[in-house]
Symmetry: none
Subunit: 247 residues, 2 copies
Amino acid sequence: MLTEERQRFILEQLEQTPVVKLKDLMTALGASESTIRRDLGELEDAGKLRRIHGGAERLPQTKSEPSVQEKATQHLTAKAQIAKAAAAMVPAHACIFLDAGTTTAQMIPMLAGRDVTVVTTGVDNASALADANIEAYILGGKIKSATKATVGAETVSGLQKRHFDYAFLGTNGIHPKFGLTTPDAEEAVVKTTAINQSHTAVVLADASKFGEVSNALFAKINQVVILTPSLAQLSPVYADYPNIQEV
Amino acid sequence: MLTEERQRFILEQLEQTPVVKLKDLMTALGASESTIRRDLGELEDAGKLRRIHGGAERLPQTKSEPSVQEKATQHLTAKAQIAKAAAAMVPAHACIFLDAGTTTAQMIPMLAGRDVTVVTTGVDNASALADANIEAYILGGKIKSATKATVGAETVSGLQKRHFDYAFLGTNGIHPKFGLTTPDAEEAVVKTTAINQSHTAVVLADASKFGEVSNALFAKINQVVILTPSLAQLSPVYADYPNIQEV
DNA sequence: CGATTTTTTGAATGTTTTTGAAAGAAAAGG
DNA sequence: CCTTTTCTTTCAAAAACATTCAAAAAATCG
């Protein structure tokens, strides 16, 4: 484990929680007390954090990554376009899986009044489905505060007891070599399971996702149908895939 | 638990409620009397609060935007009063069940920053818990669109795999003869199961619930602890129950 | 390529801070 | 008044701290 890796990890921890404990860092990083202390000292000298007895705390001016709300307004029209096409794929009496996330959320108003059953892992999606009077189920599990999605063994085993006509998922990255990826490993497991339990898996992706690679793989490109609004704008690499469809 | 974490929590508490009790802080933070006293002393020296007999009080704010938050905290509604008392019952490291509903939802900001694990059936509560960065789990199941609570066999069997130190529930009716009742039979089953799986079950009820009877029974009065803000106003019938407590 | 220097690491040392408990003083409440 | 609760002070144990030193790893140079 390199010095830079450790220090980056410490700062990432501090973005999630206002204080980190030295002992937790020792076990998490597998380094000795001395090493962690040196890292904390250097990071403090660099003005990245403040040391406190027992660990370190985040500086007050920490800027956060784009929140759920900010992301929601960014690619709105493109997302709505894909969502409309995705909702049109759903036949009557179908049972579908709806991933957590703002992209799939756009499908909900377009499913209102339809005879469909929806299973989701997104807390916000569950709320919207209830508002739209759609028959909805949420899978139990631990709630990730960043995305408000349920994850973990309970969610996965809940998925394995079901089968879906269609699964609709979002993604953070689509790459010819590295496949479909998402930042969170636990969410990746959930997505993979949902794909396995569905007859047809559909990924909703706007142009900004192509060529991107995130942390955790959840499927290869040819395992799913990909809907995108702007096939022409993309690198010609993606033209070889018949399962990437323009809407 | 680090010094900074404790002191941060104490100040956050004082934003919610004008006074904090030393004993409540002890159970909430899992620290000794001496430690809490030292924290209060340091925070007083730093000009962050004023110590009073039995705890500490918030300083009179002369800052920018006092209107919204102070009004919300100074004139505590009946529900917030009960929620505050209920949250004070929760010790550190506890695992609690939080019923769906607006009454129990009021407990969430008062649990923020606490070392507790919360399991809920309320979709909206799950969202609020995630916002407050509280470790939260939602039970899977069908979502009732009226209340956005999960119900059904999946929810009940999920409950039966767990155990809680405390369960906090709302109710629609409290009656000496007909017990605790709620309009929906499926939600009643969930509440009953939650009570059975908990060491102590606590029902939060304002005065309007007493004497009312709804459709489905979920518990007898003496099976739970009932918190209410206005014991004196109630019919003398309820004075016979030692488990009905004024807050 | 090997030898030497520099950097990084983990353990050992003694010091400081934090913590919880105890005992008596002060305050609150009947 | 007495009883109970809360408060302050003191003390020893535990945890966390800075510092030093030698071994291991990496980089540099002849």
